[in-house]
């Protein structure tokens, strides 16, 4: 296959850099416009990973930091597919997650929220998609927590998700929210995204068919990475 460019990132569906209601973005957003580049080999390549990079239990947050018991909280399965904008699966790509525990507390030396650390919960996991782009994690549902922005801001329950794709141009970090959470509409971080459909794309849907009866409830979360051109026409990416 000849190398081909990725579709332009649709900046109208992403948050702008400067989003004044999310205060930390104010000094952390470039003033000048980004310089738009057509893809070269530097952008259409990217790191590759294999099962050798991770361990079998890495996608089980209920067990991967257990110290003699299971973590407290609502047991959930998060699953879905990683697709590109053409609807094709993205196989063998690394998906990493991190989250607060059921009380809304992160296992991080900089988190000082008064909710307690859970001795059996680390809060991070990773997995590779299979040949169909499918992935899953087992974890406990994270709690909402307060954060300093306005005096009284609460983050909706969320899981941070990092995805690589096959090209550095596809690299993405996003957050997964839960269907029906009333805090989604008041969160200045969620609301940095200017498009209601785009926000809905970050909301995992309750998936009763995928639950494990008497054990764990399930949420479905499909992730879409940038798609790429077909190579029907010579696009002279590599020259001559």
């Amino acid at each position: 296959m000849k190398p081909a460019e990725y579709y332009m990132r649709d900046r109208t569906r992403h948050a702008p850099g400067l989003t004044k209601d999310y205060k930390t973005s104010v000094p952390r957003s470039p003033q000048y416009a980004l310089l738009s580049l057509e893809n070269s080999l530097s952008e259409i390549t990217g790191p590759t990973f294999s099962q050798n990079d991770i361990d079998a239990l890495d996608n089980d947050l209920i067990k991967n930091y257990a110290h003699g018991g299971d973590p407290i909280g609502e047991r959930i399965i998060v699953h879905g597919r990683v697709l590109d904008e053409n609807g094709r699966p993205v196989p063998n790509t690394l998906v990493e997650v991190w989250q607060a525990n059921a009380g809304g507390r992160y296992r991080h030396k900089k988190d000082t929220y008064l909710a307690p650390i859970d001795p059996n919960f680390g809060g991070c996991g990773r997995t590779m998609t299979d040949e169909d782009g499918y992935y899953f994690f087992r974890t406990v549902k994270p709690g909402a927590y307060p954060w300093r922005n306005w005096v009284n801001n609460w983050r909706p329950a969320h899981i941070h998700v990092s995805i690589f794709g096959v090209a550095f141009a596809q690299r993405l970090i996003t957050q997964l929210y839960f269907e029906g959470d009333p805090l989604i509409k008041t969160c200045p971080i969620v609301q940095t995204v200017p498009d209601a459909d785009a926000i809905d794309q970050m909301v995992a849907k309750l998936d009763l068919n995928a639950t494990i009866p008497l054990d764990s409830i399930a949420y479905r979360f499909d992730i879409v990475l940038r798609g790429r051109r077909s190579t029907m026409f010579e696009n002279r990416l590599e020259g001559n």
Partner: protein, 200 residues
């Protein structure tokens, strides 16, 4: 035509280390953390260290940033099937680094990359592709690090920067001492000396 749309980006937040560098968050969970060894033991070429700081618009160092690096080997080959020209065994070309929580300084060890093919038969000067995420950054920022001891005059990307003096924001400065070669690359997110960021 019905296409899907890319999932929106969200900030990596202040606790990015839990997922991507848990030792820095203060706990040990994975057998192997990823991204600390960019070049591997067999890489040819000049061993270098790259160091810098990321500053916010007020001039303060950002202490909760994470950077990822993506680079070619000394021959200008990427470790990727769509390059296909091959790299040394163990050369990955990808790294992940976080800042010191007290100072905001970050650094990684690698080899200096070679020139890579550009579009339309051009050649790109040696560079390291960088991706920067942090609390307050809604969509990860892409930029490139070039080297001040290379000929960057015909690089097709640097030459796209309209304001010629801003090209300097993409060029790292070389120093040598008894410990080896270090390139310094400071990133200014906003304001005076603002780094050129790329929409790739």
């Amino acid at each position: 035509m019905q296409y899907l749309k890319e999932t929106p980006s969200q900030t990596a937040g202040p606790y990015v280390h839990i997922g991507l560098a848990p030792k820095a968050a203060g706990f040990d969970i994975f057998e192997q953390e990823l991204g600390w060894d960019i070049a591997g033991p067999n890489a040819k070429g000049e061993r270098i260290r790259v160091e810098g700081c990321v500053y916010d618009g007020t001039g303060a160092p950002i202490k909760d940033v994470m950077l990822e690096a993506w680079q070619a080997n000394t021959d200008g080959h990427y470790a990727h099937p769509e390059d296909g020209r091959g790299v040394e065994d163990g050369f990955r070309g990808w790294g992940r680094v976080i800042t010191d929580f007290e100072t905001g300084l970050w650094g990684f060890d690698t080899v200096k990359p070679g020139a890579t093919p550009g579009r339309n038969g051009t050649t790109q000067a040696p560079h390291i592709n960088l991706w920067i995420v942090a609390r307050g950054i809604n969509v990860g920022l892409n930029t490139r690090l070039y080297f001040d001891d290379c000929d960057n005059s015909t690089d097709p990307v640097l030459n796209l920067v309209e304001q010629v003096h801003r090209r300097q924001t993409l060029i790292a400065t070389r120093t040598e001492d008894s410990k080896g070669v270090t390139y310094r690359f400071d990133v200014h997110i906003q304001g005076k000396g603002e780094t050129v960021f790329l929409d790739i």
